[in-house]
């Protein structure tokens, strides 16, 4: 019923149509929706994670510094609304608390991996829902992970290697050398080379800035060579020359944060925010999230082709599972209902028992009462009989007495008296 016309061909335009405003329309829509960006900072306590975030976004985020006595690794997450001209950014910063402080650090990476997976899971759940609202969903998936390396000057710690290896397939990792003012320039170059070679030899995939688009290929290419960035963060502003700048003051000099000769902070800010923020988000969505989704769905038992290699519809399994679930729910409901009925019956029986008992007791008492009443009546009757008999004798005696007194003789009286006794 449907005929496809000739294949795609490019057609020349005879005039100005006007769809060159399309990118602007798209951008306007995105601006009205707002952007969101989620950063995860992984590093040992005291490496300056919070300070770096303050410096990067030129503001003071709330939070107290963590202690070294945490029993396990925890993640602390905070969301902020930033606004620059007409662009609104919902920024979420997640920091590890207590990383590297324990004596046994074997499981240190687990809470981090679980957190990242939990964000993917939440997005996947929303995507699989029947009635979903993806366009207003607050995306909490981690877009970039800044891994803070301690400035020892030697090499990566084994904890760092293990953690980065576990994270590289789940999130875009950008390693940075923290507190870089503790290392001299020559040591820094050697340190960077050592780190890069260790990462390569251990097969850790860190995020490479994209070089496929001409407008950013050049700058990204040079920046790729400067990884890992050696950064310094500072919340204090000092007057240098006639400008106020963020800097750290030592007795032997002042380290300026935004001076490219002193540290790579400016490079980090360029790469992270000004050039590649959108690419980081896209990589998270198209690569890391898709990988997670694929693994999760395969784990749940969905396949694209069934054993006969005929394309197997996800929908069929989905519906089957749904029916199964509904069946289970119904069964549970039945069970509960039956249990309820059972309980009601039992209670009813109990109450009937009690009622019966009460009736019996009542009957017993009534019978007792009747018996006693009868006894009393009997006694009363016998007493009445006695009284009657006495009255009769009394009248008879009085009669005799009156007859005897007429005949004269008190002997009969005496004899009567004796008789009476």
């Amino acid at each position: 019923m449907l005929r496809r016309g000739e294949g795609c061909r490019t057609v020349p335009l005879a005039g100005h149509v006007g769809f060159d405003s399309l990118p602007d329309q798209l951008v306007n829509k995105s601006v009205s929706q707002g952007f969101c960006f989620n950063i995860l900072c992984v590093g040992e306590t005291g490496l300056g994670k919070s300070t770096l975030m303050d410096t990067l976004f030129n503001t003071k985020f709330e939070g107290e510094p963590a202690t070294h006595t945490q029993p396990g690794v925890q993640l602390r997450s905070n969301t902020y609304d930033l606004q620059e001209s007409n662009v609104g950014l919902k920024l979420t910063i997640v920091s590890t608390v207590g990383f590297g402080d324990q004596i046994n650090k074997e499981d240190s990476y687990k809470p981090i991996v679980e957190f990242i997976d939990a964000q993917f899971e939440a997005y996947l759940q929303e995507e699989l829902k029947i009635r979903r609202v993806l366009h207003t969903y607050h995306d909490s998936r981690i877009h970039v992970c800044l891994y803070f390396i301690a400035p020892t000057g030697h090499s990566l710690k084994s904890l760092d290697l293990v953690t980065m290896k576990k994270l590289d397939s789940k999130v875009n990792i950008i390693p940075i050398i923290a507190k870089a003012d503790a290392i001299s320039k020559s040591e820094l170059t050697k340190f960077k080379i050592k780190i890069t070679s260790e990462l390569v030899s251990n097969g850790v995939q860190i995020y490479q800035f994209p070089t496929d688009d001409e407008s950013v290929a050049e700058i990204n290419g040079t920046m790729n060579a400067h990884l890992p960035f050696a950064v310094i963060g500072s919340t204090e502003e000092l007057k240098i020359g006639n400008k106020m700048m963020r800097a750290r003051q030592y007795p032997w000099g002042t380290v300026q944060v935004e001076n490219e000769a002193h540290c790579d902070f400016v490079k980090l800010r360029e790469m992270l925010i000004r050039v590649n923020m959108e690419d980081l988000r896209e990589q998270t969505h198209t690569r890391h999230y898709e990988l997670y989704r694929r693994c999760k769905l395969e784990e749940m038992g969905f396949k694209d082709t069934d054993p006969d290699s005929k394309p197997f519809s996800l929908q069929e399994t989905y519906e089957a599972k749904r029916n199964e679930f509904l069946g289970e729910l119904q069964k549970k409901e039945e069970e509960m209902r039956q249990m309820f009925v059972q309980r009601v019956k039992e209670k009813e029986a109990e109450l009937k028992e009690a009622e019966k008992e009460l009736h019996e007791k009542f009957d017993r008492l009534k019978k007792l009462h009747q018996d006693e009443k009868k006894k009393l009546e009997d006694k009363k009757k016998s007493l009445d009989d006695e009284v009657n008999a006495f009255k009769q004798r009394k009248t008879a005696a009085e009669l005799l007495q009156s007859q005897g007194s007429q005949a004269g003789g008190s002997q009969t009286l005496k004899r009567d008296k004796e008789k009476k006794k």
């Binding site: 449907l2 005929r3 016309g5 000739e6 795609c8 490019t10 057609v11 335009l13 005879a14 149509v17 006007g18 769809f19 060159d20 405003s21 399309l22 990118p23 829509k29 995105s30 601006v31 009205s32 929706q33 952007f35 976004f57 503001t59 985020f61 969301t79 902020y80 609304d81 930033l82 606004q83 620059e84 001209s85 662009v87 950014l89 029947i130 366009h135 207003t136 969903y137 607050h138 688009d213 407008s215 800010r269 925010i273 000004r274 923020m277 959108e278 690419d279 898709e290 989704r293 395969e298 969905f302 082709t305 005929k310 394309p311 197997f312 519809s313 996800l314 929908q315 989905y318 519906e319």
Partner: protein
Amino acid sequence: MDPLRRSPSPCSSSRPSSPSTPPCEMLGPVGIEAVLDQLKIKAMKMGFEFNIMVVGQSGLGKSTMVNTLFKSKVWKSNPPGLGVPTPQTLQLHSVTHVIEEKGVKLKLTVTDTPGFGDQINNDKCWDPILGYINEQYERYLQEEILITRQRHIPDTRVHCCVYFVPPTGHCLRPLDIEFLQRLCQTVNVVPVIARADSLTMEEREAFRRRIQQNLRTHCIDIYPQKCFDEDINDKILNSKLRDRIPFAVVGADREHLVDGRCVLGRKTKWGIIEVENMAHCEFPLLRDLLIRSHLQDLKDITHNVHYENYRVIRLNESHLLPRGPGWVNLAPASPGQLTSPRPFKVCRGAHDDSEDEF
């Protein structure tokens, strides 16, 4: 049609604000604005897609209109000759082109519906069209639910349907009303008065008011839908547009000389009707709506509202939808019914080896 089709507006809250997001003051420029340029570069690299469908009886100037809109020979205009029999059933004919302007690449797909409303008995002539639209949604859905999916799912869903109303001057015909009622719940519909050069200005206004009255009486919600207006600016802009819809348009692909300028127009004995002149016809309004200002909005509403509605119904009650070709039967097998779940054609990627079910 079915009450499940209404869904809340897309971006009803521009930024979902939660109680734990304190606004932060930045003490200096950070460079967040640069993300807009990054977005633009990426979008231009990837290119855009737009699918439009034109529906109307033959002879209303649909092909000419499309050619005028995109200023190119999208259709090789060939009016059906006398020897060609009119098609017995409704056929859908689709053409894809890539057009480029100032570095912006647009992949345009135009679907025509020759034979619509041409038969003596036009009952259920909207079914093939609905079937086609749903088939595109189905294709997208099948791609979306794959385990290993493509980076960029090709979007063949119809973003806009332009309905040509014949210039009778009276009111909407029953066929029009039936069609519009069914279609406005599945796709964005923009009705236009075709061949408006046969109506005078007063007749046009009266016709327009009557059509608007008809639309209101029958609860037909055409694009731009009132419930999707996001903020006060949108409301004002869209109310102005809604007041003028349906646009009275004239299509022309020939150029003539008027006052020394070369304009697109139709030459008649009593004058030249200039297509791009707002005093003559409302073609510029239609062009602006479809291309210059609301193209992205059309795509967004199709993706966020119509596609989601389709998806909900598809996942819940598969048996209620009109079927297109290649339908996959998902209902659980009842005894006595043959279920042969013929899988839909997905011939992309290395993992697929089913044949084309078309």
